[in-house]
């Protein structure tokens, strides 16, 4: 079924999504992406939202916040994380992070650090017994 309806449209929109996934840390101009995909900006936004339930801009923000959580878990500082995921302003990064995750970047990082310490102290206590037993981790 490689020739399903509108296959050419799907491929162009998917390529645009993959472009955002790869280049989220850069200054992305969404008009440029719609031009590259040979759509008007309006048409591009409408098709993208129909497929992904987010506008391209909303999707870009979502990807950046997801990556930011990963970097904060890896102990990057809040300001470093902000710039590494493509934001210019720490204020707008912190505001968007809180709106999406529910807590500030620094609180999120503190929570993750506490969790890491607890895991380091007793890793097997984070594994349900049915799996730990099967793997022999309870015997060690």
């Amino acid at each position: 079924m490689d020739q399903y309806p509108k296959v050419y449209l799907y491929r162009r929109i998917v390529q645009a999504k993959l472009f955002i996934d790869k280049n989220y840390a850069e200054r992305i101009d969404l008009s440029y992406i719609s031009d590259e995909a040979c759509f008007s900006k309006f048409h591009f936004t409408r098709l993208f939202k129909a497929i992904y339930a987010k506008t391209p801009h909303q999707y870009l923000t979502w990807v950046r916040i997801e990556k930011a959580q990963q970097l904060l878990r890896e102990d990057k500082s809040v300001s470093e994380t902000c710039f590494l995921v493509g934001f210019d302003s720490l204020t707008s990064f912190s505001g968007l992070f809180k709106r999406n995750v529910g807590i500030s970047p620094s609180s999120y990082q503190a929570q993750m650090q506490q969790l890491k310490l607890a895991i380091k102290k007793s890793p097997v206590s984070f594994v349900p017994s049915c799996f730990a037993l099967q793997h022999g981790w309870l015997e060690e």
Binding site: K6, V7, V14, E66, P123, V127, G136
Partner: protein, 144 residues
């Protein structure tokens, strides 16, 4: 009264490769990655919009509960592609199919209309296979 399944497992041949497949190709979220000794780790992922279900990417290694002959038999069955591991749901099957193909995921079956709706089948990096179906599988599956 049981209300939900929260953690289930998929046996994989190599955890590094499984991490790359489930996180970088399928887009699952990493939940736990805890070293449990020199040869294995507690590695769990969740579908992006289902944080309350964790899939354990469980390596087949020899243990007291899992003797060598059992481990070898299981590895052989996984490699043969015997195990169907479940149905994964997406918003748009054609967009998901195109994206996963672009990322090198091997499809056994392209999106095909069946009596129960449109379905595709793909394999993970170990040989386990999954059915892929759109959320709205009884209406018009095309989003655009």
């Amino acid at each position: 009264m049981i209300t939900k399944m929260t953690i289930t497992n998929i046996h994989v041949l190599n955890q590094d490769s499984a991490y790359d497949f489930y996180v970088n190709k399928l887009g699952f979220k990493l939940v736990d990655d805890i070293p449990m000794g020199p040869e294995s780790r507690w590695l769990t992922v969740s579908p992006p919009e289902q944080p309350d279900l964790q899939l354990v990417l469980f390596p087949v290694t020899v243990s007291k509960m899992f003797p060598k002959d059992v481990a070898e038999t299981l590895i052989g069955l996984i490699k043969k592609g015997i195990f169907g591991c479940g149905v994964l749901t997406c918003n748009d099957i054609f967009a998901t199919y195109e994206e996963l193909k672009a990322k090198g995921v091997e499809f056994i079956k392209a999106p095909t209309k069946e009596f129960y709706g449109t379905e595709a089948l793909f394999k993970d990096d170990s040989g386990n296979y999954f059915s892929l179906q759109p959320l709205n599988n009884f209406g018009n599956e095309n989003s655009i």
